[in-house]
């Protein structure tokens, strides 16, 4: 039941906040904060129980599992389950959700109730995605994320919001359609458990699909997840959506929505289609490396600060794609750390750009310059997160990228060397951002208010998270180790079989 509550609390909170919004916008903000806070407490309780050592997951794959039939004719059920990976992602979602409400405190002044309704429903959809273990239910939540996000961009976005919202919707919907086809095909083609059609993850997991059908179904999933991630060449929606979205929208878009793509690859693609993945992995890794470098060069060229940050997300997600398909112990653990750290560093950067926009009313770096003089607090914070983003050792992103690169080096040294060039490219765009916005002579002599206490607190939370993951990432690594181990063992089965067969034939 706890899992259902986790998903349900933001849903209900969103309804109440939406209803309150017309009367009292401050109350509506507090209600959102309260609902997410309650949810976060619940998740933290689970974390202490299951990761703190007092809980005993035993031999079971899941910490908690809950299932109720939904459409029994097709074997569809409300099947929720949580393991270490889901738990970590749930915590990240709620953390960024809380920050998102905080970051919109002064920015959003119109239709406040409806904004929070949409915001909380997105989070609810994301939580559902991380917890659903029935593929039909998974798809349902996948779509639940989509519509309110579309509205968020469409209504509260910047100048070019209509274009960006439609683009976001089309890309996600088209790729989602491919995933739906894949899910249905998987349900129909899979031998199942002998009791008719099923959409149950556990059943698919016990008996992975092989052969040409597996390849096509895997590709369907891949396109959907790679679009969400986003991976090259499915990335163009992202720059517009991020740039035009309101601050909170960008934070959760970069921080969590992209991670659902990575999560999907880890949870579904790797263990369910081991042979197909094995054949496809080089291609996917190449796409990852292209993404790292291509997006970094794009980021370097941008004049719009928010667009620059948006492209850096594509670059960082390239590391994730590389690591997932490298599939080694190092790489997969690095991937999870990268997901968390990118959520924090990109989230913080979007929040800063948003706060800066509130003050100087532009995102165009050609019109900035010398801002350190006027708002040194912004300077320090931007510098910190730029350093995190370029992978400065001591901060979490370094740990993540180091582990991914070591893990990839084990299987594909040449590709990894190319990917490592991304560290130099990240330096180029990060320093350029600082240089153009904060260094150099002032463009005007206006005075702007520096970071407020609320903004300092939010930045501080992000920074502490990154430092913690930078010097002591072990709790996060331990939390996901069992999940990743089982993913790896499912993924490795065909190779072991293959080796055994070729060994016998000799």
């Amino acid at each position: 039941m706890t899992l259902v509550l986790l998903v349900f609390i933001p849903l209900a909170g969103g309804l109440i906040a939406g209803w309150m919004g017309g009367k009292d916008s401050t109350a509506c903000r507090w209600i959102s904060l309260g609902a997410l806070g309650l949810d976060a407490l619940l998740a933290l309780g689970l974390a202490f129980h299951y990761l703190g050592g007092s809980g005993n997951p035993g031999d079971s794959r899941w910490f908690i599992e809950w299932s109720q039939p939904w459409i029994p004719q097709f074997g569809i059920s409300f099947h929720f389950a949580m393991d270490g990976l889901s738990l970590v992602m749930v915590l990240l979602t709620l953390f960024l959700g809380l920050i998102g409400v905080g970051a919109s405190w002064t920015e959003i002044q119109e239709r406040v109730g409806f904004f929070h309704f949409n915001f909380l429903w997105i989070l609810s959809g994301v939580l559902g995605v991380f917890l659903a273990m029935d593929l039909f239910l998974f798809f349902f939540f996948w779509e639940v994320m989509l519509v309110p996000m579309y509205l968020l961009i469409r209504i509260w976005g910047h100048e070019n919001r209509r274009y960006a919202a439609v683009k976001f919707f089309l890309f996600t919907q088209a790729s989602g359609l491919l995933m739906l086809i894949s899910i249905v095909a998987l349900a129909l083609l899979h031998p199942g458990n002998g009791q008719g059609v099923t959409f149950d993850y556990n059943v698919f997991l016990q008996n992975p699909l092989h052969g040409p059908a597996a390849k096509w179904i895997m590709l369907g999933f891949f396109v959907a997840f790679a679009t969400k991630l986003p991976a090259f060449p499915f990335h163009p929606w992202l720059a517009d959506a991020h740039t035009e979205a309101p601050t909170a929208g960008s934070i959760i878009l970069a921080g969590i929505l992209l991670k659902t793509g990575a999560y999907g690859m880890l949870r579904f693609i790797l263990p369910l289609f081991p042979t197909a993945v094995h054949e496809f992995s080089t291609t996917a890794m190449i796409l990852g490396v292209i993404g790292i470098l291509y997006a970094a060069i794009l980021a370097f060229a941008q004049d719009d600060m928010k667009r620059l940050v948006a492209y850096t997300s594509v670059s960082h997600m390239g590391f994730v794609l590389l690591g997932i398909f490298a599939g080694t112990d190092f790489a997969l653990k690095g991937v999870v750390i990268q997901m968390i750290c990118h959520g924090l560093s990109a989230g913080a950067q979007f929040m800063l750009v948003g706060a800066l926009y509130e003050r100087i009313h532009t995102r165009d770096m050609r019109k900035m310059g010398g801002l350190w003089d006027a708002i040194p607090g912004f300077g320090v914070a931007t510098m910190f997160f730029a350093m995190a983003s370029l992978g400065l050792p001591g901060l979490g992103n370094f740990v993540a990228e180091f582990m991914i690169l070591v893990g990839s080096f084990q299987v594909a040294p040449k590709l990894t060397i190319l990917a490592t060039l991304g560290l130099i490219a990240a330096t180029l765009y990060s320093l350029r951002l600082i240089r153009r916005a904060f260094h150099g002579p002032r463009q005007d002599e206006k005075a702007y208010p520096d970071l407020t206490l609320r903004e300092r607190a939010l930045n501080g939370a992000f920074a502490l998270g990154l430092i913690w993951l930078g010097v002591y990432p072990q709790p996060a690594i331990n939390a996901v180790t069992p999940t990743l181990k089982s993913i790896q063992s499912s993924a490795a089965t065909p190779m072991a079989e293959h080796n055994a067969i070729s060994g016998e034939s000799q």
């Binding site: 370097f300 010398g370 690169l405």
Partner: protein
Amino acid sequence: MLNLLWTIPVFPFLGFLILLFFGERLPRKILALVGAGSVGVSAAVTSLVAYAFITNPPEGHAFHQVLWTWISVGDFHPQIAFYLDALALVMAGVVTGVGFLIHVYSIEYMGTDKDFARFFACMNLFVFAMLVLVLADNLLLLYIGWEGVGLCSYLLIGFWYREPANCTAAQKAFIVTRVGDTVMAIGFFLLVVQLGTLDVQGLMERAQSEWGPASGMATLAALLLLGGAVGKSGQLPLQTWLPDAMAGPTPVSALIHAATMVTAGVYLIARTHVLFELSSTAMMAVAVVGCLTLLLAGFSALVQTDIKRVLAYSTISQIGYMFLALGVGAWSAAMFHFMTHAFFKALLFLAAGGVIHALHDEQNMFKMGGLWKQLPVVFWTFLIGSAALAGIPLIDAGFYSKDAILWAAYSSEHGSFLLWLGAWIGAIMTSIYTFRMVFISFFGEAKNHVHHKPGLTILIPLIILAALSLVAGFIELPHNMGHIQMFSHFMGTAFESAGEHAQTMAEPGGEAMFQILAGVGSLAGVLIAWWFFLKNPASADSLASTPTGSRLHHFWKSGWGFDAFYDKVFVQPFRWISEVNKADIVDGFYSAIAGATQLTHSVLSLTQTGRVRWYAAWVTVGSVMILGALLFK
């Protein structure tokens, strides 16, 4: 007492935090106290630890302190842990000791700057990162310090960020060194994948047992680490950032770009010397890089007009000597020169800073002149530093440390006559450009007048460093002149597996001849400088104004054209590509799909006219065509 080890880096870090969060609100006196005091405490603790380490050496001459396990994946467990041996101790001593003097100096030097707090915050962060670098027990932790000092270097070169040129120099330093760092990171991947650890001691053991001598893997790994070292230490081919780094305040140049950070590459190679010894190719590469760099930088130093740029090129050149020493296996000689260089180069920068300060930020030597009367203390300390840099025989530390390297370049098993010759010519060059600087800035007629004289906070650090530049050499004397080996004995505890090759081939008489050559070379350099730049300045000008002379002059002054080359080959193409693809070609592809869809839509919607006659006609045409197709199939 050794257990205090972990607090050595902690004090400057606390100083940094205080300055970062309360820097705006505290009065300057407190800021100065926190900024310099934190490094002072750290220096004091370092002395305590050093005393304990020397009087009562721990087992195996190394002390290991684990704080916590950083990452644990499979069999890979890098820790946050410190490792203290003779090598780390000397480094930490120089970093905190020289660092403290420079912090004290900065209180006056930066006294009127409005960003006083930011300056000390960055300086403290630097000392912290540098200490992590030298005390780290594994390469991954070392990398935190390694890139941390790079960050501080960037922040401090661009300290006066309102000036675009300073920002450019800062960015250049960060980017160029990061290229080296990235090569080094690839080296780490190789080491982790092949040997399964980055713990320095374990790594060295495994490299020896699993790779053995003359292994291709060892060569590859060593060369990748060398890539990081040349970036940080301003050696060929990544030396281009260091001269521009002089855009930072002078104390920064003294601490970061002369005494400590730029020698990190030397430290890295010394730290992993076992790995380098497995590969004669890698050793040769280090020696050749050092020898070429010291020559190239020497020539460039000869033609600079900015006093700080002369010193910057001389730093590149002196680190070249250290690389040469490393490359021929003279580990302790390299570290000896590191130490003396830290004293006299910090001294030279700080004294030059005194001049620059007194002349209201004038850095052009040709606008100085005659300063020896007006700034006597600065002059005498600068002269002592110059003597040490030029290696004037017998009286100063620079002579002994450089002589050890010259001798090793010839006599060690990796050495050769050519390496010695390069180093010897370099020594003559050093002497010429050093005394050119002395004669032009401090002698001749005064072209500028002194606005205000430096106070005690500036002079006392100068005097202490001058004293060290004189006497530090006497802890290590060649065996034919006193034969004191305190330093190399102490260092030997860290390099025991390596031994000291320089001594093995010593032939009596030969060494004395080389010492005389070195001494004569250095004195001849002074004489040449005196002739060309004090006695007959016109002759130097006429030499430089011949066509070949002026071309060479320009070529050397611009650092042998490296900047122009890199600009053409890397910077311009990158900018071009990024500019061309600013709007993302891939996006264009999807826009084209969207465009095609809209076009078809608008074309087809033309047929939607609402006239029944047309619809009937289209239906008829369609039916006829289908029928026809069926009939004539």
